[in-house]
């Protein structure tokens, strides 16, 4: 009895506030825009009984999805979001792996401190961390001041409001998500395996590629998913650091909803985004479950 209660409360909560809302989004994506409150039609009218329900379903159609394919803004935004997410995941991996590796090789008594230094920015407001780069990357910003002062460049670079700034922002804010899973995989690794590889004639670099990298694979996979999936729908970074040329679907959805007040199209954008994300989300969940079971 107690067990049933313990299961039911979080289960019902998630069903009501996570699952049901998706079906509502799906329904509204099949509706039409209307000048009303709420701004879409049809709305379900149960007072008319079965006829009302039939009427309701007959008015749903795929018009908004057709619209998404006709206006090339949308599919360009999807493609460019996926591209930005893939590139920035690779960049984050390149920046994050050496840090995680260094942490795992550090003396044991340093590790908790290093760990805290990685986690600390993660606890600090995301918005503030993105904002910090606005002052650095702007035309008169600190980076340009430094580069001009050292004489590396003679005219200020335009970085803010370009895709470069978006990449920097993503790598910076998502770095802890990459470092932590890789670090936890590397830390568990048995150091004698490397020694064995070296004894058997591997060079240090070979041992790294043949032993360390394969053994840290679960961490790499988890880190890449944790960065890539949320970045595809990212809104804050492209809207603060990106420019008018930065096309990302999270921003398009936001504008469709808040500026154009076109709820059905915003919902259709969300449904398609979700369909794109389902594959990586399922793969991520499999990976996590496998790891949890391996630990148990």
């Amino acid at each position: 009895m107690r067990r049933a209660f313990l299961i039911a409360v979080p289960y019902v909560w998630l069903l009501a506030l996570f699952m049901v809302p998706f079906f509502i989004v799906l329904k509204i994506s099949l509706s039409d825009t209307a000048l009303a409150i709420p701004p879409y039609t049809p709305t379900l009218d149960l007072s008319q009984g079965w006829a009302g329900i039939k009427e309701f379903f007959s008015q749903l159609d795929l018009e908004n999805f057709v619209w998404l394919t006709e206006d090339d803004l949308y599919w360009k935004a999807y493609l460019s979001s996926v591209k930005i997410a893939l590139i920035s995941t690779v960049l984050t991996l390149i920046v994050g792996y050496p840090i995680a590796y260094g942490m795992a090789r550090a003396p044991e008594e340093w590790r908790p401190t290093l760990m805290m230094l990685v986690i600390l920015p993660f606890w600090t407001s995301f918005l503030i961390r993105v904002y910090a780069w606005m002052g650095i990357l702007s035309e008169g910003g600190y980076l340009n001041q430094l580069l001009l002062w050292t004489g590396i460049i003679s005219t200020p670079l335009t970085i803010l409001n370009t895709n470069t700034a978006v990449y920097i922002g993503i790598v910076y804010t998502y770095l802890p998500f990459m470092i932590l899973p890789i670090y936890s995989a590397l830390e568990r690794m048995d150091g004698s395996l490397i020694e064995a590889a070296e004894d058997l004639g591997c060079s240090r670099v070979q041992a790294f590629w043949l032993v360390t990298i394969p053994l840290s694979r679960p961490g790499i996979i988890a880190g890449c998913f944790l960065v890539m999936i949320p970045v595809i729908g990212e809104f804050v970074i492209p809207s603060l650091l990106g420019g008018s040329g930065t096309l990302m679907i999270g921003k398009v959805l936001w504008e469709e909803f808040f500026s154009n007040r076109d709820w059905p199209v915003a919902s259709a954008v969300a449904v398609v985004l979700l369909l794109i994300l389902i594959i990586p989300i399922v793969l991520f969940q499999r990976n996590q479950q496998k790891q949890t079971e391996a630990e148990q």
Binding site: L117, V118, A132, W263
Partner: protein, 272 residues
């Protein structure tokens, strides 16, 4: 074997420089006299003074703190229950769906979560305000709490619970007297995580808040869109300071708790 090569040293140094220099610059320039954030014009604390008098920011901060306290507490209760069910609950109907609903929000784009919750609240005729933000924040942060707590539960020696049951505890007593004290550090860090996630959230709060309840991130975002400002730097510095003190204190407290636990275990071994 645990010797840092030059490569390790360089990557750690550069990595931490990359993580920290932007925030250090932000903090330094919050004490800048000039309104132009990027040009140093002498030391001043005047932006902090202006911040304290800014009613709009103070109101928003108060709303944010209240939302964070309520939602993180609720999320901790629900998330701990969910973790316990996932790790100890055995098989039950719809377990895969349940674990899917726990992991999916961790990576779900915030725009989708926000939009779907807003449409739900409108569908059931709930007025948007503090309550709706609390419901929204609880939903996504309970999943984070659940992941943190379940990672502690899987490493935890189940025979301790069994011993308590053998010695005559009811299952509720065993949970309260044995399980809870052991997973307490994870529950506390889960609460802290939920709290900061709620403090931090812009996108979901923008969708689910009404005109009556504006949170601090929403205020900051609309100010920041117009460009850098020293007042925002001052506000950011205060928030960074609060988080740093909180995280350092929490980690010291958990470290001490873990050391005490280890001492207890060692004493118990010696007693045998």
């Amino acid at each position: 074997m645990n010797r840092l090569s030059w490569f390790n040293t360089v990557s750690l140094t550069l990595g931490f420089a990359f993580l920290y220099i932007p925030m250090i610059i932000l903090i330094i320039f919050s004490f800048n006299e000039s309104k132009l954030v990027t040009v140093w014009a002498g030391f001043s604390t005047k932006w902090y003074g202006e911040l304290v008098q800014n009613e709009a920011f103070l109101d928003a901060a108060w709303v944010t703190v209240r939302v964070a306290v309520f939602s993180s507490t609720l999320a901790t209760v629900l998330g701990t229950a969910a973790a316990y069910v996932l790790v100890r609950g055995g098989r039950f109907f719809g377990r895969t769906l349940f674990s899917g609903m726990i992991y999916a929000p961790l990576v779900m784009p915030e725009v989708i979560t926000g939009l779907s919750l807003l449409l739900l609240f409108i569908g059931i005729g709930l007025d948007r305000g503090i309550l709706t933000i609390v419901l929204a924040h609880t939903t996504f942060s309970m999943c984070f709490v659940s992941v943190v707590v379940s990672s502690r539960l899987v490493t935890f020696d189940q025979s301790l619970e069994e011993a308590a049951l053998d010695l005559g505890c009811s299952s509720a007593q065993a949970f309260r007297l044995v399980t809870l004290p052991i997973i307490a550090p994870a529950v506390i860090s889960g609460w802290l995580l939920a709290f900061t996630l709620s403090l931090d959230d812009l996108v979901i709060a923008s969708f689910t808040s009404g005109p009556s309840a504006t949170t601090l991130p929403i205020k900051i975002f609309s100010a920041v869109r117009l460009g850098v400002s020293p007042e925002i730097n001052a506000l950011s510095t205060i928030m960074i300071a609060v988080v740093t003190v909180g995280v350092v204190t929490a980690s010291l407290v958990t470290k001490r708790a873990m050391m005490r636990q280890r001492q207890d275990e060692m004493a118990a071994e010696r007693a045998e």
